[in-house]
Amino acid sequence: MKSASLYLRQSFAVVAMLCCLATVQGCVGTQAAYKAADGLSDTAYVATEHYSAVLKEAADIKESGRAPASAVTTMQRADTAVKPFIVGNPTAVPPVPSLKTLADRYDAVKSAENQQQLQEAVTNAVRELAGFIKAVKAAKGSGP
């Protein structure tokens, strides 16, 4: 059983990462969405929406044909790194559950174990999402 201080530290780490992510993104709407999240389950949903918005942007940049191939490859690799943490990967060993699965579990039973699993998943997703955002920004700033 983990101690309360460990959960506090993990919560702080998630909040700190989200603040950094919002700063990297630099958008009022993004910050408002994370602030509007009422609890860890909502935060998981906001991170999923954030990933979806960045992914759409990456796909649009790729389809525009104006970004160099190397930048597209970097975006694709960064997406491959973050996607399993968001949508899950049932074929991985051990399988990686989606954020929705973990949020549903936590909403159903607010146990310390479920909280820890969701918190770790959100932390991992946000960490990789920051890398994806950087790759997309780099692709936007690079011309042939």
Binding site: V46, E49, I61, R66
Partner: protein, 89 residues
């Protein structure tokens, strides 16, 4: 019908990019197009996340919200990883 300042700025950037392209300044033209794309994408993300904020303030998220966002992720993931325009190699 009104056009806001952001849209006017994007139209201006793309107009300048077009003009440079017509003058044979392909590199500068492409850079301006990329800049316009970047600005538009930033606006789109911000608007999307602001809508998410409004939704969470007005009501609790539902299973349908999760299904919707996962469907968008799959569609855009297919676009990003599909062979075609912009694909490496």
């Amino acid at each position: 019908m009104s056009i806001d300042k952001k849209e006017l700025g994007l139209i201006g950037l793309r107009g300048a990019a077009l003009a440079l392209g017509l003058l044979g300044q392909a590199k500068a033209s492409n850079s301006l197009y990329l800049l316009a794309d970047a600005a538009e994408a930033g606006i789109n993300i911000d608007e999307h996340m602001a809508a998410v904020a409004d939704k969470l303030k007005s009501r609790a998220k539902t299973d349908a919200d999760w299904d919707d966002v996962y469907a968008r992720i799959e569609a855009d993931s297919d676009r990003l990883h599909a062979p075609g325009p912009g694909s490496p190699g």
